[in-house]
Amino acid sequence: MKKLLTCLAAALILVSSAFAQRGLNSFPVFKGKVVPNEKMVITEARGGSMATYKLDYYRSVSFIADAALAAKVSALVEADAAASKSVETEKGGSFLTYALVEPKPAGKRNRYLCYQARPVAEGLWKITLLYLEGSATVGELKSMFEKQ
């Protein structure tokens, strides 16, 4: 019975941690559920050189979006921003052009969701979304990349 309960507890812990990782509204975009993976540039890096930036994990997706798709993605980011620890946003009219969202940390690791929309042609936007995990603070990341 003890083994069974241990097994059950372990399974529940795994399930809850998986859900904790999942907990972002913009998760489907990274997963290729909003824009197919074949239509995105996806970059993923873990460990190794990422330590230079005090980051453990990096994932980015970028794609070209029309106004409707851009609005859909920005709405997801705004939903994450609403539930986050801190947020910096910039808008062009009512349109979200930049967001630096800091969701609640996953354990001791800080998490960041970065969003950028840049116009590339009439009615088309290049959307870039980054998800970062690591010990780096926003201040540290900004000072690392601050223009001299």
């Binding site: 059950l8 529940l12 996806i42 050189s49 990341l141 601050e146």
Partner: protein, 140 residues
């Protein structure tokens, strides 16, 4: 008719297989409390049956718990495999880099780290998107 007579008749019907479950429960209640050797046989049979029912219930509970644990473990495995930290389908091991350009995979760490650095600089250099767009325009 006394209780003893009533339950003796019920016991006979029980051994003939003519009692309802409700009557059997009533008989069991009476037999368990009656200090009468006439009911020893029925006590023995009902006791044996109730032990059997308890064992069956325990086995069922055990199977249910194992099924629940198996279902939870399966769900955990699916979630752990299907969702990386960023919620992406490609879960990397330590020191791994991957770049998919419209479905085409590249594993060149230098190229990937250059792309990572450029993206991070884009977000953390302090330029607002408007400033960045102007910079890009004047660089062209």
């Amino acid at each position: 008719m006394t209780d003893k007579e009533k339950y003796t008749a019920l016991m006979q019907r029980y051994f003939e297989g003519e009692t309802t479950p409700e009557e059997e429960r009533a008989l069991a209640r009476y037999a368990s409390g009656a200090d009468d050797a006439a009911f020893d046989a029925v006590r023995g049979v009902l006791g044996y049956l109730s032990i059997g029912r308890e064992l069956k219930a325990r086995r069922t509970r055990k199977v249910r718990l194992y099924s629940l644990a198996a279902a939870a473990a399966g769900l955990a495995a699916i979630l752990a495999l299907g969702l990386g930290p960023a919620g992406g389908g490609h879960t990397l091991k330590d020191n791994q880099y991957v770049l998919y350009t419209y479905g085409e995979r590249t594993d060149d760490p230098e190229l990937i780290m250059a792309s990572v650095e450029s993206s991070l600089a884009d977000f953390f250099s302090g330029d607002t998107p408007v400033e960045a767009n102007l910079t890009e325009m004047f660089q062209r």
